[in-house]
């Protein structure tokens, strides 16, 4: 059963409708293509940076970072590469004695030396068998090395919601292979956006070693999982990614190694440089309560080259990105990848209505502009609220207007071409497009006369 107005259409009008719909569809799909190729990456990136720089989660998860900075690198590690395994393992053990909620180690320890050092073996046994009663309640999560790649999705796959997949071959932790059955490690992997900036964190990756099964062992998620085992946290099941927000937050504290620790006198004289193998906590450190804090240790010394462009700056330390990633894993915000098809349909519908509003006779330009904005705004909120995806923030606006204008131009040309009065005689003024398509040609003439009158 076709609606009455469809049954009243003449074959010419029906053809016009179909061709218009096809052209609209093609224009709308084509207008998505520049977005796919990253043409809007600069604009979207700039807006996203502003948004993420201002935003901060409302939660109160306490995260503290302990950074080996350039000074610590010289003072405690003799500016030597690689970092002495005994010094690194000793540092982790000493910080563990602070009894934080979780201790995350954002230092890659894939070197075989970690396997050979007795201290490394003892630490691994402690993790797996929980043999040390004094510190066994403090879980430690290690960053694992990895080889990674991205498998890009094609245009049509992308249009229907497909996203690039991160494929990983896990490396090792403390000199031994990182295995899926152990929860004490995660891969601190971050995708780059089109403008080569880090803004988000995937919640899983494909393990190529194990037939591309999805692994949830990202470093941030592994730390968050350990933290949330004994606390009530939001369940972010279903979210594909989390967003890194860079707004100021009192729950994020930063320390250098020398703020919390000092070297035992037996190995290093006070003020001297060298390799510290005997760490001691400072009184300031032991005097604070750490039981609700996620403690994250990593390196910010320049030789580590662990800095990446982010909304916070061109060289944001990886340690900070991981801290923000952990916070986002616990508190959000999360991202659900939306289908571009949804955006496409939204664009077409809103474009149609905006086009109609601008063609509506008897209304001022100001009225039409406000009406259009009022229409676009809920559509914007809809896309943000239901399918929060940064690309849609601005691209949708642009595409809506482009498709709306293109639609108007197409309709105008078609009607101009089809109308008998346009083959000769004076140029005819435009008519409301939707009105025209629902009435006969004779009625159009009458309507035109009335409206002009």
């Amino acid at each position: 059963m076709l609606p009455a107005f469809v049954r009243r259409l003449t074959p010419r009008q029906a053809g016009r409708w179909i061709s218009t719909a096809l052209i609209t569809l093609i224009v709308s799909v084509a207008s998505q293509y520049p977005d796919f190729r990253g043409v809007f990456a600069g604009v979207v990136g700039g807006v996203s940076n502003r948004y993420l720089s201002w935003t901060s989660p409302l939660g109160s998860t306490e995260i503290a970072t302990v950074a080996i900075d350039d000074d610590d690198y010289r003072r405690f590690f003799d500016a030597r590469s690689p970092l002495d395994p005994v010094a690194v393992v000793g540092l982790v053990e000493t910080l563990r004695a602070l009894r934080p909620a979780v201790l995350g180690v954002d230092l890659l320890t894939e070197d075989d030396a970690y396997k050979d050092w007795p201290q490394g073996r003892a630490m691994k046994e402690a993790f797996t068998t929980q043999q040390r009663p004094d510190v066994s309640s403090v879980p430690v999560v290690w960053a694992a090395s990895a080889q990674s790649s991205t498998e890009a999705v094609g245009f049509f796959g992308w249009l229907f919601g497909g996203q690039d997949e991160i494929v990983v071959i896990p490396g090792s932790v403390l000199g031994t292979a990182a295995r899926e059955d152990r929860p004490d490690w995660g891969i601190p992997i971050f995708p780059l956006d089109d403008d080569r900036t880090v803004r988000r964190l995937p919640r899983s990756w494909l393990n190529r070693e194990r037939d591309d099964i999805a692994s949830t062992n990202t470093f941030a998620r592994a730390v968050a999982w350990r933290y949330c085992r004994t606390r009530s946290c939001h369940d972010h099941e279903g979210a594909d990614e989390v967003l890194l927000t860079f707004g100021r937050s009192s729950s994020l504290r930063t320390y250098s190694v020398r703020d919390l620790l000092e070297c035992g006198e037996s190995t290093l004289p006070v003020g001297a440089s060298g390799t510290c193998r005997n760490w001691r906590l400072k009184v300031d450190a032991t005097g604070r309560a750490w039981s609700n804090t996620i403690l994250l240790i990593g390196g910010t010394f320049s030789a580590s080259r662990d800095a990446y462009p982010s909304p916070a700056g061109e060289s944001t330390p990886g340690l900070m990105l991981n801290a923000l990633g952990i916070r986002a894993e616990i508190e959000g915000p999360t991202l659900v990848e939306s289908s571009k098809l949804f955006g496409l349909v939204l664009d077409i519908v809103v474009g149609l209505i905006v086009g109609y509003l601008f063609k509506k006779p008897g209304k001022s330009l100001r009225w039409k502009t406000w009406a259009s904005l009022l229409l676009i705004f809920p559509a914007f909120l809809l896309s943000v609220g239901l399918f929060f995806w940064l690309d849609m923030l601005w691209v949708t606006w642009v595409v809506m207007l482009v498709s709306s204008m293109a639609w108007n131009v197409v309709i105008e040309n078609l009607s101009h071409h089809d109308h008998p009065s346009n083959t000769s005689g004076p140029v005819r003024k435009s008519t409301p497009m939707l009105e025209r398509t629902t009435v006969s040609d004779t009625e159009i003439q009458a309507g035109d006369t009335q409206s002009h009158a």
Binding site: P85, D106, T150, F155, I166
Partner: protein
């Protein structure tokens, strides 16, 4: 003026006098011998260096037991296999031809890499991908952005090593075990310390793409060098302020294998020494002494 320049000048002098072949000086015989050997060795050496790039690989594909990922390099002599059904696209050097390998049923074994012999691989459909088709396909795909691994490796300085020189290509990989991926320059200063300015080589280091770390090093001769990492600054190389200087022994292709074997044995002993509690400077002295002894062998040759 170094020895090579002197030899070249002497060679030109002989040529002008027209007695290049009549004067049977020892260096002429050596040069002739080297040229003859080079005729046979050079093609084999260059053939060995042909590497191909993985453009895309489905999950089942691997080479020499390692899963293949986009961007990896594999050698012509490697054998590939696929334990599950899937496709693999390789960019075959030196023509940069794209070739598709499709394993329809899985369990495809011993698949040769970019073979030009026309020998069929059982169970695998292999065909070149036309440039036009590839161009059209590339319109609907995009270059994937490689993710970053946001963690500090335990350091970033070069280590002592024996490096292979395959003139003018220098294989820096063994000295970059702990160096993070990135674009670097390296300063090679002759040892014992000389007044000549150090040679500079640059490298876009990415162990997933080229684990050998092959760099162009013109004018670098076999011998013992200090090896320092730096950042390319315009045309010069700015050495890292806090960077540690390693020692490297550069060996020609002919003697590299034996020297490398000895070095690995000796560096294992040094590692044991370090584990037993010896100071780093003492261990470094042992390592450097071992490299200097190996350098003596090159000099004697």
């Amino acid at each position: 003026m170094n020895n090579m320049d002197a030899n070249a000048q002497a060679s030109r002098g002989h040529w002008r006098r027209g007695n290049f072949l009549t004067r049977r000086t020892p260096w002429v015989r050596h040069a002739l011998g080297a040229a003859l050997v080079g005729c046979f060795v050079q093609p084999a050496a260059s053939q060995q260096q042909i590497v191909h790039r993985v453009v895309s690989a489905d999950s089942g594909w691997q080479a020499n037991g390692n899963r293949l990922l986009r961007g990896m390099q594999i050698r012509e002599t490697d054998l590939m296999s696929a334990d599950t059904a899937g496709d693999l696209i390789l960019e075959c050097s030196p023509q940069n031809e794209l070739r598709l390998y499709s394993c329809a049923k899985g369990a495809c074994k011993k698949v040769s890499v970019c073979s030009t012999s026309g020998q069929a691989n059982p169970g695998v459909v292999e065909r070149p991908i036309g440039k036009l088709m590839w161009s059209l396909t590339s319109l609907l795909t995009r270059e994937p952005r490689q993710p970053v691994l946001a963690a500090a490796r335990a350091g970033g300085d070069p280590n002592d090593a024996v490096l292979r020189l395959d003139p003018p290509r220098l294989h820096l990989g063994p000295a970059l075990t702990r160096v993070l991926e990135g674009r670097y320059c390296f300063l090679l200063g002759g040892l014992p310390s000389s007044s000549t300015s150090p040679a500079t080589v640059t490298l876009d280091w990415d162990r997933a793409v080229d684990s050998e770390g092959v760099s162009q090093a013109t004018g670098v001769a076999p011998g013992l060098y200090s090896f320092q990492k730096g950042t390319p600054m315009g045309g010069s190389c700015q050495a890292d302020a806090d960077g540690a200087t390693a020692w490297v022994l550069i060996a020609g292709s002919d003697g590299f294998a034996s020297l490398d074997t000895i070095w690995k044995e000796q560096s294992a002993i040094a590692a044991d020494l370090e584990r037993s509690g010896a100071s780093r400077s003492a261990v470094a002295t042992v390592r450097h002494a071992a490299l200097a002894a190996l350098a003596e062998r090159i000099t004697r040759r």
